[in-house]
């Protein structure tokens, strides 16, 4: 697409987002949560205005309409991920909940004392703490694959980390700090050859690239709706049907059973076995609308736009004196996530000064303390892009970051 066309399309897209209207906000924290287009907000509102009843319970027309809305959303997710069956799509609250579900249901089912769970050092705490706890409960060992400064490790590193005792491998597809992508398809294949189950954390990948669960051949994939235009409180756990059928339920309660006696219960079919209690049907409907919006914009455009913005941002930022960008030097390997430190300025002060310029970024340890420790960094500032960001916003970011050291009282000669 020509640059002018691309620019025009982004401006049209921005009109779909109420939060950008009449605002000078420069939002560069989409890896924390994305902004929401009007059609998504309307879908949630529509559910409650037109279809609101408790799905699966109401023995009346409205109740059936509510069920249909919810199940349509499940089918939309199935199609988006190219899963074989909508039975493989479990609605959760977010990526964290899906991973916690597995750390109980799957871990309880297969872990024996002395077994190993393998994760990488770059995991978000949500793909680390559940496994740390599961390992403790089962007398298993939590093992780590280390990465280099660019967030990379080789196939050989991975193979060496696997042992006959490795029952579970859980790995992020895209790092929320470095933005690097792990070759999930290849690693899942190697894990399977070793007899290990492979789980992918898709929180930072699903919103930014096509993810085909059959092509990747992962056993499970967990992600959040709120990072991909949908509201907070709706997420998805994809699981191969044979696994979902085999493992026990996580939460128990209403509408996840076939029959209950005083001492026994027969659970509902998948995916309902994993959806105890009243579901977030309004959120699911909104996630469905978000996916339709993604399909309308198209990943070709999204990836082109996010990559060209990453290139522009890294080229401008890397010329700023005292800056250190974490991870690869190649913007194409960042997937819109650029974390950095600035000599002599704490990341929280960076974020506060950018905030004064109406630029929203994240600062801190990004829920990845073991990774930052591994990289020898106490904390970092993080810029994260989405397809609704503009070149102009990136230029303003670079100008602001370039002014920070001066605004904190440093003079040019102090640098380096």
């Amino acid at each position: 697409m020509k640059r002018e066309e691309q620019k025009k399309k982004v401006l049209n897209i921005r009109n779909d987002f109420p939060i950008f209207k009449n605002s000078d906000l420069i939002y560069l924290d989409s890896a924390a949560t994305s902004q929401k287009p009007e059609c998504v907000l309307r879908a949630q509102q529509d559910f409650y205005e037109k279809y609101n009843a408790n799905p699966y319970r109401g023995m009346y027309e409205l109740g059936e309409a509510a069920t249909e809305q919810y199940e349509q959303a499940r089918e939309t997710v199935r199609h988006f991920l190219n899963a074989k069956s909508s039975d493989e799509i479990v609605f959760t609250r977010n990526a964290t909940e899906g991973l916690n579900l597995l750390s109980y249901s799957l871990a309880d089912h297969i872990l024996q004392p002395g077994d190993e769970i393998l994760i990488t050092i770059m995991e978000h705490h949500s793909n680390l703490l559940p496994w740390q706890l599961a390992a403790k409960r089962h007398g298993a060992n939590l093992c780590y694959i280390e990465c280099n400064e660019e967030g990379e490790f080789t196939e050989e590193d991975f193979k060496q980390a696997l042992t006959p005792k490795t029952k579970i491998v859980s790995m992020t597809q895209v790092s929320n700090v470095l933005g690097c992508e792990n070759n999930i398809k290849r690693f899942a294949q190697i894990a399977h050859e070793n007899g290990s189950i492979f789980i992918a954390d898709g929180a930072q990948s699903v919103p930014h690239m096509p993810v085909d669960v059959q092509d990747l051949d992962v056993d499970f994939l967990s992600f959040s709706g709120h990072k991909m235009l949908a509201p907070m409180g709706i997420g998805v756990l994809y699981g191969k049907k044979k696994w979902l059928e085999e493992i026990p339920p996580f939460l128990s309660g209403g509408e996840m059973i076939q029959s209950v006696t005083r001492d026994h219960a027969v659970y509902a079919e998948v995916p309902h076995k994993f959806e105890a209690g009243t579901v977030n049907a309004g959120g699911a409907a909104a996630l469905g609308a978000a996916i339709h919006y993604y399909e309308k914009i198209g990943f070709d455009f999204i990836q082109e736009q996010e990559q060209s913005l990453s290139i522009r941002a890294m080229e401008a930022l890397r010329n700023i004196k005292g800056i250190h960008i974490l991870g690869s030097k190649d913007p194409k390997k960042h997937h819109g996530i650029i974390s950095f430190t600035l000599d002599g300025v704490h990341p929280h002060d960076i974020a506060a000064i950018l905030d004064a310029d109406h630029i929203a970024i994240r600062a801190g340890h990004h829920c990845a303390q073991p990774l930052l420790k591994h990289l020898g960094v106490l904390s970092a500032a993080r810029v994260s892009l989405a397809f609704y960001n503009t070149e102009n916003e990136i230029d303003k970011l670079a100008e602001s970051v370039g002014s920070i050291r001066r605004r904190m009282g440093y003079v040019e000669s102090d640098v380096l």
């Binding site: 300025v345 704490h346 990341p347 929280h348 002060d349 506060a352 000064i353 004064a356 310029d357 109406h358 801190g364 340890h365 106490l378 904390s379 303003k396 100008e399 602001s400 002014s403 605004r407 904190m408 009282g409 440093y410």
Partner: protein
């Protein structure tokens, strides 16, 4: 584009050139203060004799607000009695919540430069880290 921030000259100066950021070998009170959300981590060191703070210093890492605030606090409390220092702490913490008289503001001297932090809830913990550490330290010795 150079919008106003609460990083005023006083705060910046205390952050870049802290007068009290050094070790204090003859300190008889030492306490670590940590603010996990920012990663601020300081060790406050005081030399207290006959209820009077003879000398004080701090070491550690953290954001400009935590470092400057600890430095301003030491400017104020060195030479004061424990009771006077705790009174100043009470006034400072009240300033951060936004309730303080002009007279009290004067007593805080340069530490008053942090008044605007009251509009930044996420950074309040940074500003009060040194003060809370000092309170805990002095109350622990009673």
């Amino acid at each position: 584009m150079s919008n106003q921030t609460f990083y005023n000259e006083i705060l910046i100066d205390h952050n870049l050139h802290p007068g009290h950021k050094h070790d204090l070998e003859d300190a008889n009170l030492v306490l670590e203060g940590v603010n996990p959300s920012c990663g601020d981590d300081i060790f406050l060191k005081l030399k207290v004799e006959d209820d009077k703070i003879i000398d004080g210093a701090f070491v550690g890492d953290g954001c400009a607000i935590s470092q400057a605030s600890a430095d301003m606090m030491l400017d104020l409390i060195i030479g004061k009695t424990k009771e006077e220092a705790l009174k100043l702490s009470e006034i400072f913490l009240r300033m951060i919540k936004g309730k303080i008289t002009d007279d009290e503001m004067e007593q805080l001297e340069e530490a008053g430069a942090l008044q605007d932090i009251s509009h930044m809830p996420a950074r309040v913990k940074c500003a009060v880290l040194g003060w809370h550490t000092m309170e805990e330290m002095l109350k622990g010795t009673d």
